[in-house]
Subunit: 469 residues, 2 copies
């Protein structure tokens, strides 16, 4: 290892900038879409006994970039996130360079203050007067922590003595809620049977009357309802549950009211669309993924709690005095409130990005996403061979192609989607809506313009027509 | 936002390299050690309504780097990790640039294969014949998942129906084990009272006879022992529990045998020191933090399971067909085995770093850490005013200064440590060993040389003498 190998050199900049340039070129393939055997034959992934040179690393790095899916490409619509933003990228570089851990103020002074500032800001946007919060390891983890706070509130002795002799707790989410609620019920020891999935309407929204009925039924069976999780932006349809009605039912039954805004939380930044989250202020907790519609590099998830005190009460344990010292600035330490010990600085990238775009930049971005989604919906409506599969609520557009020649519409659409990927033209995901396969277009890349949406549909229809013979 | 602001420019390289250069200069302060009020007055952390320019971001970035603690400085001994390595840093940059998520092979093809390759490699180093594994969000998270697998093995119905009518489970760790075991007992709904903390010997190792006795006692009380967590490298003393004896007790009582190698896992890479983990091959699960002694940027934690199948069985849920498609390369997807949905690529940085240093480079690094720790221990033994507070087991050296003038030795050592930080000379942590405060020096920075250790003790003794008047 020579001295020069301790420093970044020009190669990184060239590599990064050429990657970004290629992403912007419509001719660049979004994906090579190679099966594992084929990919393995192209990259040597074995690890050596003896070390290698930096030059050899750069070869692998080039292969990594070449064969990875281009999630920053404007024809990448496959997940609930997409795109590249320089401030977020810079934030990751600097956080990694300074490489500290969020547990104590002493070792992460600036990052701790930044995280606190962001929690204050996000809390005030939600209308919470005395909020607390925490950057967590993802939306799933946020849902887990919210459910855990609710559990420990319902059974204060569970922290010290477990479920011994307690009534069976029951949690409620919609049938289109994220699967992490079931993981949470599993982790916490409730059991998946004690997570009731409430019916949704045709837009994918939880039906409040069904929720009220299910709660009553559970109570009659001797179960103890304790938690309701509403979704702001479901994974498939992008639907927003009716928070006002759910909040009122939750209050009536003294349930913890959590809102999973992993996808749709960012919508509160838009004056035009935040009505979708009306009465969010009544939520007891709220999870928000800034790595989705705010375009930050993964992971950037924030759990907000309306009233201070729950995180510490739920998560603090004994045996931590080797790391958390009251002597210093212990009151500022975030670690005791967290389920993690070592924790990355995810706040810096969000802070820098927010500083760069400002409140108004993000509001404008959300509005643009909705406009582009409406534009895509309009193309679907105007095109005879396309069929809208669900009313559009936000940034997700679910549709399918109706072939002339094939009777198996599902298989045709799966093949169509696969063919688009195989050609590297576009990567877009699918889901099952009831019995049918739907292609799910997600508008989440801030660099998208109408021409990118049009190009996607051009590719799709051309490809479909070539298959529909 | 102009076009040029989509690209990295020379400023990043200059900033990064000047930061690295400053870290290497002994005159550079490790920390400014400012209280929150003072730090707040130096950096404006408010977020604007309107956006800002990239130039303004760079001002904050410079302040961030200036006021953050320099964890890559050779006088930073405060945590169980330290230092900077270029291959790991490059890995973070590239992972963030390509920004994908580890849940499906389709969207993370290269990263998925890399993660699998690393699991295979680490599993084979541990001697596991049919291993599985997962990069997780930290050592705490790995301990949680291991305990959860054990719980679901003991109570197969808990996943669907919770703890209903089940016996009270009991888990066992040493009294010097990490606090995350208590967090895990809390999360999983066991209750902290059902985590028994077993006595340790003078080196900080779990006493097997005490473990056997505690298991018997629990069974006699009608509890159901199910899990024992041994520690390979405790947080304060760096002690290694006797795995051979614990494995045998675990087998006898049919307990899940987990090893927390968050700190000491890396020691298996050294032929000279891996005897400390003798019989690791008998562990059912093992957690290893590559962001500690392997020097990767945070977080890089790997959970290894000796036998395939547990992760999927424990963690899989329903309602995931919108993301996990059997149609494609579903069998390659890592997501269903994970507690996360979106997950960062932590494998790339470890892969690149391993490629760069090789097996032998890491073995040599571990040996060097032990030698430097022995060197530090030797200084303590040879210096009349210093006292060794616990026998050294690995890379942690616990000691204190014995003042001439003060009767409150604890307070003196706290003041001494604080004064070193206030001057920015060195950052080193302390812990309580029984009744006494000990300064805990951790050797975890691969750039350390003997002269850095000597310099640390010079600073410490000079500072102590100036206080000891």
């Amino acid at each position: 290892m020579s001295d020069v190998e301790s420093f970044l050199d020009q190669r990184v900049i060239d590599l990064v900038n050429s990657y970004i340039t290629s992403n912007a070129n419509p001719e660049t393939k979004v994906t090579h879409h190679l099966p594992p055997e084929k990919l393995r034959s192209k990259i040597d992934l074995t690890l050596p006994e003896n070390g290698s040179s930096l030059d050899e690393l750069y070869l692998t790095i080039e292969q990594y970039l070449n064969f990875s899916v281009r999630t920053g490409h404007r024809q990448f619509f496959n997940q609930l996130w997409s795109g590249f933003t320089l401030p977020g990228f810079l934030g990751e570089i600097i956080a990694s360079l300074a490489n500290t851990s969020m547990y104590t103020y002493e070792v992460a002074p600036v990052a701790t203050l930044m995280e606190k500032e962001l929690i204050k800001k996000l809390g005030s946007i939600c209308g919470f007067k005395n909020p607390e919060g925490m950057f967590v390891t993802g939306g799933s983890n946020g849902n887990l922590q919210a459910m855990m706070i609710a559990r420990n509130r319902a059974l204060p002795f569970v922290k010290s003595h477990g479920y011994k002799d307690s009534p069976e707790l029951m949690a409620f989410v919609s049938e289109e809620a994220h699967y992490s609620f079931e993981k949470s019920a599993n982790i916490l020891g409730l059991g998946s049977a004690n997570l009731r999935k409430i019916k949704t309407d045709d837009r994918g929204r939880m039906i409040p009357e069904e929720l009220a009925m299910a709660i009553e039924q559970s109570s009659q069976k001797g179960k103890a309802p304790f938690f309701v999780g509403a979704t702001a932006g479901t994974t498939v349809k992008g639907a927003f549950d009716p928070l006002t009605e759910i909040a009122s039912i939750a209050r009536q039954h003294d349930l913890w009211f959590h809102v999973d805004g992993s996808l749709g939380g960012t919508v509160v930044l838009s004056a035009r669309h935040r009505h979708l989250l009306r009465d969010l202020v009544k939520a007891d907790s709220f999870i928000w993924n800034a790595h989705k519609l705010m375009g930050l590099p993964l992971i950037c998830s924030i759990l907000l709690i309306r009233e201070k005190g729950h995180l510490l009460q739920t998560n603090s344990v004994t045996g931590t005095d080797y790391i958390f010292h009251d002597e210093a600035y212990g009151a500022c330490d975030l670690g005791p409130m967290s389920l993690q010990c070592g924790r990355r600085v995810d706040a810096l990238k969000l802070w820098l990005s927010w500083k760069y775009y400002g409140d108004l930049g993000y509001a404008e971005r959300v509005d643009r996403f909705f406009e582009l989604a409406a534009f895509a919906e309009d193309i679907v409506s105007r095109t005879p061979s396309l069929e809208l599969m669900a009313p559009r609520s936000s940034v997700n557009v679910c549709f399918r192609y109706i072939p002339n020649t094939s009777e198996d519409i599902d298989k045709f659409n799966l093949d169509l989607r696969e063919e688009l990927a195989r050609k590297g033209k576009a990567l877009v995901n699918f889901a099952r809506l009831g019995e049918n396969v739907a292609i799910r277009l997600v508008i989440a890349n801030h660099e998208l313009a109408r021409e990118d949406i049009s190009r996607f549909f051009d590719y799709l229809i051309q490809t479909a027509e070539s298959l529909d013979r």
